[in-house]
């Protein structure tokens, strides 16, 4: 059941929040051995909170009344150490309170049921976590879920919870959304506060929701909006609700497909997905950007240097405890000349101004979210655009240039685009100008209403 259906029934009193939580916990129990999305299940806490919702005097006003949700384990959860996918943080003190976005979700009536697996310290696109095991793709457990918010996408795709939260620095909401076949929203950089979340790259970190419907996504996003004066990266903007705007669909919007890099670095299934979306929206317009590879390179360098500096003390003292798949990359990032990183920050700003000019004549841009459908777990190399490229970092080739400049993106899932693997989804990025999440959500709602973008629960037989 989707989030809004649960909330509607709980508000009406035709279903209890306790029953919604029990159904979620039961689904987690039966599917978790095949998926491995959760690193902690909070049954006692969730059932206690459900009891409070069922007795809540203003239950009828709660937009997410009784909706079970879960969060990537880089969000603080009171009483648990914030793992951020690592072995090292097991030694950290338990969080004293929940992350701000968890508190905002619960204030809207949602109920936290657990913490979700991820790539260590969010440095990865596959959730092949050596410490906690890989999170498997619910639509084909031999394949990756994507990452770094792999648990967040897989839990929604598996029907374990209707809503999850994750983070996106270079594609970590959009990549797993694409590979697991769910809707994901990476809001504008600075839109949602990050208080109480473990940072990866402060210059680039975003938080956002995953869901199986666009309306669920919008309701969760709306519940989390609002300024947070203690978060220097959070724009002090009042909430700009989107849920009542979805019915406007794509009417009157100027939509174009991104060309160049965004088509060259995409495999046939990714191009087929974008072309299907463009056709459904009635656009043949192409926008060509220059220096996209430089923007991607800038994101790479900023990410590498900032994240390594954050972990420098542990890299010096206990490098052996890091994830083997990312340890050498972290060590390398500490050694980069400062001029490379400072220049990367300036390139980022120049690219942002180029996109701002593009958005003077277009409202929404389309691009693939990943170069291909989910690879098999352990895949080392991919052939893209005639080049043999390392598989893991290449999953972010098409997302990094966009998050590098903080644009809001809704990822919409399509199916059957790869004839050799018709059971696998692939996502399309619906990209808007800064602070126009509403436009990306409206286009996603249009595609969902046409039946082109869907997020079915995986059978997991």
């Amino acid at each position: 059941m989707n989030a809004l259906a649960i909330a509607q029934q709980v508000r009406a009193g035709t279903m209890t929040a306790a029953a919604a939580v029990e159904q979620s916990l039961a689904r987690i129990t039966t599917t978790e051995p095949k998926v491995n999305a959760f690193t902690a299940v909070l049954a006692e806490r969730a059932l206690k909170r459900a009891g409070q919702i069922d007795k809540h005097t203003r239950r009828a006003e709660l937009s997410l009344a009784g909706v079970p949700f879960a969060v990537k384990n880089l969000f603080d959860i009171a009483g648990l150490p914030t793992l951020a996918g690592s072995k090292i943080e097991r030694d950290a003190a338990p969080a004293s309170r929940d992350a701000l976005l968890v508190r905002r979700m619960e204030a809207a009536g949602a109920i936290l049921v657990g913490a979700l697996n991820m790539d260590e310290y969010a440095y990865g696109f596959t959730t092949e976590n050596t410490h906690y095991g890989p999170t498997r793709n619910p639509h084909d457990p031999a394949r990756i879920s994507g990452g770094s918010s792999g648990g967040s996408a897989a839990a929604v795709a598996a029907g374990q919870v209707p809503l999850t939260l994750g983070s996106d620095t270079n594609g970590s909401i959009r990549v797993p959304s694409s590979l697991c076949g769910v809707f994901g929203l990476k809001p504008t950089y600075g839109r949602l506060p990050r208080l109480g979340s473990y940072p990866f790259v402060a210059s680039l970190d975003h938080l956002g929701p995953f869901a199986r419907s666009v309306a669920d996504l919008a309701f969760a996003y709306d519940a989390m909006q609002g300024p947070a004066p203690d978060d220097p990266a959070c724009a002090q903007r009042p909430p700009e609700p989107t849920r009542d705007l979805l019915e406007r669909r794509a009417d009157g919007l100027r939509i174009a497909v991104l060309g160049g890099w965004f088509r060259e670095m995409a495999m046939p299934e990714a191009l087929a997905a974008v072309d299907a979306v463009a056709q459904a929206l009635g656009t043949t317009r192409l926008v060509e950007l220059h220096d996209v590879d430089r923007a991607r390179a800038a994101a790479f360098l900023i990410t590498n240097a900032e994240s390594s500096t954050l972990h420098l003390a542990d890299l010096k003292q206990r490098a052996q405890d890091f994830e083997p798949l990312s340890r050498d990359r972290f060590l390398a990032g500490a050694l980069l000349p400062a001029a490379w990183v400072v220049q990367a920050q300036r390139v980022r700003h120049a690219f942002a101004r180029q996109l701002a000019r593009a958005f003077e004549t277009v409202d929404v841009l389309l691009a693939p979210a990943t170069p291909c459908v989910a690879p098999v777990i352990g895949t080392e190399w991919l052939e893209i655009n005639g080049q043999r490229l390392p598989s893991r970092p290449s999953m972010g080739l098409l997302t990094q240039p966009i998050s590098c400049i903080g644009l809001p993106v809704v990822t919409v899932p399509l199916w059957g685009c790869n004839p050799a693997a018709p059971h696998l989804p692939i996502g399309v990025q619906v990209i808007a100008a800064p602070w126009r999440e509403d436009l990306a959500l409206r286009v996603a709602a249009e595609l969902e209403a046409q039946g082109l973008a869907t997020a079915p629960v995986a059978a997991l037989n």
Binding site: R294, A297, D328, G333, V347
Partner: protein, 71 residues
């Protein structure tokens, strides 16, 4: 920026690791060199972009006001 040679990459790794007091274990050195080489390729693209004085840093500092005062 010209492409760095393997010898230059190795020298950069040794010098910067020493400056930071970061010990690179022998088993990690090939991987570290490979990733610094990858980063150097990215840096070539970034350093090759012509920028003007209007191209400010994307990392803009936000002043922090005392609690209870107007922003």
């Amino acid at each position: 920026m010209a492409a760095l040679t393997p010898a230059q990459i190795e020298a950069l790794v040794q010098a910067n690791a020493a400056a930071l007091g970061l010990r690179i274990a022998a088993e990690h050195k090939p991987g570290v060199i490979a990733f610094v080489t990858l980063a150097a390729g990215m840096a070539e693209r970034v350093m090759g972009q012509e920028l003007g004085i209007e191209d400010e840093s994307g990392a803009v500092f936000v002043p922090v006001s005392p609690r209870g005062t107007a922003p």
